[in-house]
Every structure is written in structure tokens, then in C-alpha cells.
């Protein structure tokens, strides 16, 4: 487990905020941690829990060795509650149970700590019934809500908590870590743009998945620009069998998006930002042929497709429509 000092390397502002609050004894009763996946929200929340309970902490740093710290590590602390999604959402029953739990005294201390993971997944009733509780908890309690999309959180919740925005990990760092694991730079770069989480990135690189996916995308783009009529056949024979699950289609579209972004970057000569580093010739060619307006439209088309996918459109129809739109420019 990390301590504050280690976390500070990636999230200096957050750590400063929290440790200062602890040292000044100004810890708020509700925090909302927001930021992309893999930015260390949960780590910070658990660390805060340890600081909150630890009997031997020095400054803001918990000792990591006492009973309290160890039990938080193993997830066995009776006064630390973690609410997770039950199925697809967090239900109002869960919040009610939580409240009931809080109306009792703490098992060992008089303090309680709760973490709501994926807070944006709270149903409307659940979120609303958290409101009063969040504002004026009974006894000494500290709430940490974690979310990736703060826009899905009720304004009334946001205004009751201190919002801490976690910065995305610098891509360079992730690329470095990945290459250290023996992953080729061109794949590392691609993956680093798709996720911020080292674990997830490594998973994408497993069994050369990312290499194959990249090739499919490049092939599709090639067909699209050179032999538009074949693009649909490629889609049918290569693309769809490869990107089967919804999450995979999602990633495929992300890869397409990265391609068009690269073309724009090429056009304005910011080559150090490019993801498809082995395809510079093709990118250059595209950069020369497409106007920025068209590129903008293409990107828009890709993003639209991505949104539709979230709304459960059939992947095949979606991709075909996308190809048509890309051809039109």
C-alpha cells in the first residue's frame, strides 16, 4: 500500500490538500473525489481512512502497522464501510442501510468512515436520500464519494462536499512504465491514450491484442481512403469478428478517434504528440489531403458513433453509418 508521500508524486495537489487538512485539523465531513480511472482515488480514500483511524499516526502519515491500519488494508475494519454497486447501480436500500448503520454507535470507536464507489451510479432516490445525511451526519463521520463523471452527480451533493479533482496520470509516465515491462513503444503510446490505469493498460497489451487492434484500424483507414468500396467488406470480415464485445467496439472506435487526432497533430506539425508513430507516412499523406474542416467533421462522426454505442445501437449498423460519414467527410 502507498503512503501519502508516494501518492504525492502523482497527485501533489490532492495530497497537499488532504494532509494539510489533517494537520490543521480541518478535515471536512464529506469529500467527492473525481478523476479518470486509475488516478488513485480509491487509494487516497483508503489512505484517508487509515489516517482517520490510526492510533499512531505521525503528522498526516498513518503508521501502516497498527491494528487499525492493517484491518483497513484487509477490508475488515468494522467502522469503515464501502458501498459498491449492486448490479448496475447503487440502490436506495443500500443508502438506507448505511444510514441505519450510522445511527448506531461505532463498534470500537465513536468515528465512522464510509466510501461510496462509482457514486455516479447511485439511482436518483439513492442520491437524494444521501443528501441530508451528507450534510449533517449524526456523530463523527467522514464520507468519501468516488466518481469518474462528476457531471452525473447531483448538484446538491456537490455543493455539500469538498470536491477534489484528481489529475490524469501523465502519459509519459505510463509509457515509461509500460516500456519497462517490455512493451513496444508504439503500442505503449497507443494504450496510454486509451486508459490511465497501468493494470488496464497491461491487460490491453496481453496476447498482442493491441497490436492486432491497431492493425485492423489501420487497415480500415487504408481501405477507406484508397478503396472505399472494400471498406465495408473489411468491416464485415475483419473488424466485426475482432471487436466483438461492446467494450471492444468502444476501444476500436477510440483507436479510430486517435487516428484522426493524429492527422490533425500532423497537420499542425506537433509530431511529438502522435500516437501512431510507425505510420508517419500515411498520416502525412492524410494530413495533406484532408482539410481541417473535414477532419473536424470526421472526428465528430467518430465521437457521435461512440455516443450512440453507449445508447445501445447495434454495432454493425453503427460502424457502417460511421464509414459512410467518414467517406463523405
Amino acid at each position: 500500500m502507498k503512503n501519502w508521500e508516494q501518492l504525492e508524486q502523482t497527485q501533489p495537489a490532492i495530497v497537499k490538500m488532504l494532509t494539510n487538512s489533517v494537520e490543521k485539523n480541518r478535515l471536512a465531513h464529506a469529500y467527492l473525489f473525481t478523476g479518470g480511472r486509475g488516478t488513485g482515488k480509491k487509494e487516497a480514500a483508503l489512505l484517508l481512512a487509515k489516517t482517520f483511524f490510526c492510533a499512531h499516526r505521525q503528522g498526516a502519515e498513518p503508521c501502516q502497522t497498527c491494528r487499525e491500519c492493517k484491518r483497513i488494508d484487509s477490508g475488515n475494519h468494522p467502522d469503515v464501510h464501502i458501498i459498491q454497486t449492486d448490479g448496475a447501480s447503487i440502490k436506495v436500500e443500500q443508502i438506507r442501510n448505511l444510514k441505519k448503520e450510522f445511527s448506531l454507535r461505532g463498534v470500537e470507536s465513536h468515528k465512522k468512515f464510509y466510501i461510496v464507489q462509482d457514486a455516479e451510479k447511485m439511482t436518483d432516490p439513492a442520491a437524494n436520500s444521501l443528501l441530508k445525511f451528507l450534510e449533517e451526519p449524526e456523530g463523527e463521520a467522514l464520507a468519501v464519494l468516488l466518481t469518474v463523471q462528476i457531471h452525473k452527480i447531483l448538484k446538491t451533493i456537490i455543493s455539500r462536499s469538498q470536491v477534489l479533482q484528481f489529475a490524469p496520470l501523465p502519459a509519459d509516465l505510463l509509457i515509461k512504465k509500460l516500456t519497462e515491462q517490455g512493451i513496444h513503444e508504439k503500442y505503449a503510446r497507443t494504450v496510454s491514450k486509451m486508459t490511465n490505469d497501468l493494470e488496464e493498460a497491461l491487460q490491453l497489451c496481453q496476447e498482442d491484442w493491441i497490436a492486432q487492434a491497431r492493425n485492423k484500424v489501420i487497415q480500415l483507414i487504408d481501405d477507406l481512403s484508397m478503396r472505399p468500396r472494400y471498406a465495408f467488406i473489411t468491416l464485415q470480415e475483419e473488424w466485426l469478428p475482432f471487436f466483438k464485445e461492446k467494450t471492444e467496439v468502444q476501444l476500436g472506435i477510440d483507436l479510430l478517434m486517435l487516428w484522426y487526432r493524429d492527422v490533425i497533430r500532423m497537420q499542425v506539425d506537433q509530431t511529438d504528440q502522435i500516437v501512431y508513430i510507425d505510420q508517419e507516412d500515411k498520416l502525412q499523406d492524410h494530413a495533406l489531403k484532408l482539410s481541417q474542416e473535414k477532419l473536424g467533421n470526421n472526428l465528430q462522426a467518430v465521437m457521435d458513433a461512440k455516443r450512440r454505442l453507449d445508447a445501445n445501437t447495434a454495432p454493425q449498423l453503427l460502424m457502417e453509418q460511421l464509414l459512410l460519414r467518414l467517406q463523405e467527410g
Binding site: A13, S129, K132, V148, I150, H151, F166, Q267, D269, R307
Partner: protein, 579 residues
């Protein structure tokens, strides 16, 4: 160890008197009068955005009406009833969270208990918070009680979402709409609070907090709380900026300027730095919208108090505001709104920001902005093409006058213009090559970059006017560009000839419109281009430093004027240096 309960500022400073409910004078005055005259209604509905004082007002009213000194305009907060209500020991004032007690059963329970007389206070007050969460059944169960409750009962409903309340409920209550609190009022309240503590906060930081909290007092106090915890000693503007993830005004100005100048590259770079600093793209879009809003406000009503506030002490803003054209600002806001909507649901918000920059720059450059001077931009393109046309007409006129001679009189206007003479192709090629060689001395990498990034657009423009012309153009690419000439390299001689002779004007016109410079076209075969390039580099080598501009060789191995020159010409990325 943490002492028993540090309380957030907004809880400590929850207003205890109606006079402390900031920015809602229209409501507090009415309530105070009603309290003094003992003309309180039996049901109230408080609505308004978060953090405007709905629940606070409800609590104060419940105390004031039960205060032992009643009738009074404000609760005394000293008598046993006031204190009892405050700490919850008097059960006659009930605060119900409708979100967790939203069923018919809970409402029935209220209905049954309403009958009983209050135990300690004069009135039973039911404060039903978040009332929009009641189920339809619950609302309907409440209707009759709400209309004619016993004399000793007062209902106060509070909600942020009045549109979810049935009309039958609304019509039975006196409704009070709480307004967003103005930045000014928030500032005053925050100063009041700070006067009572020993924390120092910069004034700019405070106004930043006031702006960021969008009319919610609780948001403002939360932020203030956070800023105090974050800051080492006195709270500075930077502390607040880093907490709310907002960007400094300088960066904002920078982005606006580069968009306005159509500099895609600069805009994107700014966004990259933004992201590296971990700023929130959503926040940034919002900041941009507010920035443009301020610009409009200052432009439209410079005498307004708010405008004056905004302008004082911010010279940079004044400058930018004066430069911008109103129509352009409207267009930008439109775009920003569009992207903001899309961004909310996206997992790659940064991409939308980049798209905004690209598209926004697009608009500007294709319309040919002359740095925001309030000229009607639409006409610029037309003017340019008209100028071209006039030139063409002049030249053909002179051609006619000069009889069958192929020389063009328009050379006066465009001295370097090439003459499509029917010479044998080899000789012609040589002539072309010579011209290209000459222009290479003044060519720069930067010019080429501008041309290349606009090339796609040039092709499109040509295509709009002539589809065949664009087809011929597909084979070539720009390879060099100076301040008044550019070179196209063709792989195929026929293509070269067609473009060079038939479509010259078309292409030059499109180029002029796109890069905003009057450029003459030179054409060359790709093979020849390679030769010319090499020869040029060699020539530079023999000429030595005479033509080098003493540009210091950067990170590369040696200080070689030849390489410098070559770099200047084609850019380092295309060069391979062999010892």
C-alpha cells in the same frame, strides 16, 4: 488526534437570523413582516437552486414563530424554546428528509400525528426537505392535510426542483423562489465570516470563489473551507485556482487569441499544457463561455456596474475585449455550448476541446479574419476573388491588345508570374528548375508548414470550382514556400502541365484565400525537385557560411551551415545527416 468534530464552515455559519440569509431580501422581508403581524400562512414552499438558504430560512421561521418573545421578526436564539429547537430536543419542529421517507406510509404517519397539539412549543412545524422526492401517492396523501391543517400546524416544504411538485401542492402553498446569490452578496458574507476568524484571504481569491460557486452560498463556503485547508498560510489566488481546477486568465487569453488568429497549433499546445497540469476540460469550456460572456457584457453595457468591476485592474482583459468582434464571440459561444453538451457524457472530454479549437480556428481562417477588426469578414473572401478576377481580366485584355503574343501584360502586377509558353518540355523544365532554385533562397520551413496545413482546404476550394482541377492536383504536394512563391512537386509531367497551365489561376486564388498571402505558383517534377534540393544543399556547402544566417545549430552534432540551411528548408524531421 482529531478533536470531536471539526465542523465545515457552512455548518458553523448556517444563518441563525433571517437577516443573515444573504441575497434573498424579497423573501426575508416578507417573512419578517408575516412573523411580526402574526399572519403566517399554514403552508410554505421554498424553491431555488442549491445553497441559497431554503432550509436555513425554514429553520429560522420555525424558531421565530415559537420563540418565547413572539411575535418577533427574528428568533432570539437564547430562550429555551429556540435552543431546544436548535438542538432537536423539542420534537414539535420536525425536519423530515423526503428523499428517504418518500412513501405513502410516512405521509400517513404525519397526517395521523398532525391532530395532536404541540407538546412544548406553540406551533408544530413540519419542514419537509427535498420534497420533490415524494412519490405521487405520498403527494396526494398530503393534499388534504396541506390544505386545511389544524391551527397549530405549519408546513414548510423545500426543494431544488419545483417542476417535480404537483400543481395541486403548489397551489396550496405560499411559494417563495430563492434567487441565486449575487457574487457581491457572497463576497460580503464571506468577508463577514473571515473577520471572525484569523485567516487571511486575498481579495482576488475571494472574488474567484464567489464566481466559481455560481450563486450557491454553501458552495462558496465549501470552497473557502477547502482553500483555507489547502493554503499554507494566507489564501492566495493560485490556491483557489488549483482547487477549482480553473486556469489562469493569461492562459485563457492565450487560447482565445490563438483561436482568433486561426493558429490551430498554438491552441492545441495550450490545451496540452492544460491537460498536463491536470485541469478539467469541462471546467475550461465553462471558463471560456464565461469569458466570452464577460466580453459581451463589457461590450454591450460598459456602464454597468458589473462591467466596471470586471474591467478595473484587468488591462489585459480590456485589450482582448476590445479586439474581439461581437458576431465572432456569439459564434464561439454557440460552438462552446454545443461541445459542452457533448462533453458531459463523454469519457474523452479532451478530444472535444481539441475539436473545438480545430473547428473554431477553421471558421476564422476560412473567413479570413483580419485580427478581429470589425470588418464584415464574409466579404473578405469575395474581395480577394474579385481582385483576382480583375487582374485576370486586365491580363486578358492586355493579351488581346498585344495580339497573339503570349507574353502577359499583367507581369507588372505580378512580376514573377510564369508564362505558359509552348516550349519543348525539357527546356520548360529547365526554366522551371531554375526558378525553383532561385526561390529556394527565400524559402522557409515555417511558410511551408502554413501552406501544408492548409493544403487540404485548398484542394477543397479548387474542387468547388472545378472538379477536374482538383483531380489533377491529387498527384502533387507542396515542397517549398517563401513569402511570395511556392513550389508544387508533381510525380507526373502531364499533371504538372495541366495544373501549371490550365488551372494556375484557380490554384493561386485558392492559396491566396487560404493562407492570406499573395503567392505565385511554381511547378516542378518530383524527380527534378530531388536534384534541385541536393544541388542547393551542395551549393550551400561550397558557398560556405556566406549564406547561412548564423543560426546556431541546436542539439545536433556539429555547427554546419549546410545542415542549417537544409533544416531551414525542409525541417529537421525529413533530414538524414550522414557523416
Amino acid at each position: 488526534m482529531r478533536d470531536m468534530g471539526y465542523q465545515a464552515l457552512y455548518r458553523v455559519w448556517r444563518p441563525a437570523r433571517l437577516a443573515d440569509v444573504v441575497g434573498q431580501e424579497h423573501i426575508t422581508k416578507t417573512l419578517q413582516n408575516a412573523l411580526v403581524q402574526e399572519k403566517l400562512s399554514h403552508a410554505y414552499l421554498f424553491t431555488g437552486p442549491r445553497g441559497t438558504g431554503k432550509t436555513s430560512a425554514a429553520k429560522i421561521v420555525s424558531k421565530a414563530i415559537n420563540c418565547e418573545k413572539a411575535p418577533v421578526a427574528e428568533p432570539c436564539n437564547e430562550c429555551s424554546t429556540c435552543l431546544g429547537i436548535q438542538d432537536g430536543s423539542i420534537v414539535d419542529v420536525m425536519e423530515i428528509d423526503a428523499a428517504s421517507n418518500n412513501g405513502v406510509d410516512e405521509i400517513r404517519d404525519i397526517r395521523d400525528k398532525v391532530k395532536f397539539a404541540p407538546s412544548a412549543a406553540r406551533f408544530k412545524v413540519y419542514i419537509i426537505d427535498e420534497v420533490h422526492m415524494l412519490s405521487t401517492g405520498a403527494f396526494n396523501a398530503l393534499l388534504k392535510t396541506l390544505e386545511e391543517p389544524p391551527r397549530h400546524v405549519i408546513f414548510i416544504l423545500a426543494t431544488t426542483e419545483p417542476h417535480k411538485i404537483p400543481l395541486t401542492i403548489i397551489s396550496r402553498c405560499q411559494r417563495f423562489d430563492f434567487k441565486r446569490i449575487s457574487a457581491h452578496a457572497m463576497l460580503k458574507r464571506m468577508e463577514e465570516i473571515l473577520d471572525n476568524s484569523d485567516v487571511k484571504v486575498e481579495e482576488d481569491a475571494l472574488s474567484l470563489i464567489a464566481r466559481a460557486s455560481e450563486g450557491g452560498m454553501r458552495d462558496a463556503l465549501s470552497l473557502l473551507d477547502q482553500a483555507i485547508s489547502y493554503a499554507d498560510e494566507a489564501v492566495k489566488t493560485e490556491d483557489v485556482l488549483s482547487i477549482i481546477g480553473a486556469v489562469s486568465q493569461q492562459l485563457l487569453h492565450h487560447v482565445v487569441k490563438s483561436i482568433q488568429a486561426g493558429e490551430v497549433a498554438e491552441g492545441l499546445e495550450a490545451i496540452d499544457t492544460l491537460m498536463k497540469e491536470g485541469k478539467d476540460p469541462n471546467r475550461f469550456i465553462e471558463d471560456l463561455i464565461f469569458f466570452f460572456r464577460d466580453v459581451l457584457m463589457v461590450k454591450a453595457a460598459p456602464e454597468l456596474e458589473e462591467s466596471l468591476d470586471r474591467l478595473t485592474g484587468d488591462e489585459a482583459f480590456k485589450g482582448v475585449a476590445e479586439e474581439l468582434d461581437e458576431n465572432w464571440v456569439f459564434e464561439m459561444m454557440d460552438k462552446l455550448n454545443h461541445f459542452q453538451q457533448q462533453m458531459k457524457w463523454a469519457s474523452h472530454p479532451q478530444v472535444f476541446l481539441e475539436m473545438f479549437v480545430v473547428q473554431a480556428c477553421q471558421k476564422t481562417s476560412s473567413r479570413g479574419s483580419s485580427s478581429g477588426a470589425p470588418v464584415d469578414l464574409d466579404h473578405n473572401e469575395t474581395i480577394i476573388s474579385l481582385q483576382k478576377k480583375v487582374k485576370q481580366l486586365e491580363s486578358s485584355l492586355q493579351k488581346l491588345q498585344a495580339g497573339a503574343q503570349s507574353s502577359e501584360g499583367a507581369a507588372a502586377a505580378e512580376p514573377a508570374r510564369q508564362k505558359p509558353k509552348p516550349v519543348p518540355s525539357s527546356a520548360k523544365s529547365r526554366a522551371h528548375t531554375k526558378k525553383v532554385k532561385e526561390m529556394l533562397h527565400s524559402a522557409t520551413k515555417q511558410n511551408l508548414q502554413t501552406l501544408s496545413s492548409g493544403w487540404g482546404q485548398i484542394i477543397e476550394q479548387v474542387k468547388q470550382k472545378s472538379v477536374p482541377a482538383s483531380a489533377w492536383l491529387n498527384d502533387c504536394k507542396p515542397v517549398a514556400c517563401s513569402d511570395d512563391q511556392f513550389v508544387l512537386a508533381f510525380r507526373n509531367e502531364m499533371h504538372r502541365d495541366m495544373v501549371g497551365e490550365k488551372f494556375r489561376d484557380l490554384v493561386e486564388e485558392a492559396v491566396t484565400v487560404t493562407v492570406q498571402k499573395d503567392l505565385n505558383m511554381l511547378t516542378i517534377l518530383a524527380a527534378h525537385w530531388e536534384e534541385v534540393k541536393e544541388a542547393y544543399v551542395k551549393e550551400q556547402k561550397t558557398n560556405g557560411s556566406s549564406s547561412s544566417e548564423g543560426e546556431p545549430a541546436q542539439e545536433h552534432k556539429e555547427e554546419n551551415p549546410v545542415i542549417d540551411e537544409a533544416v531551414k528548408l525542409v525541417g529537421r524531421d525529413l533530414l538524414e545527416i550522414k557523416e
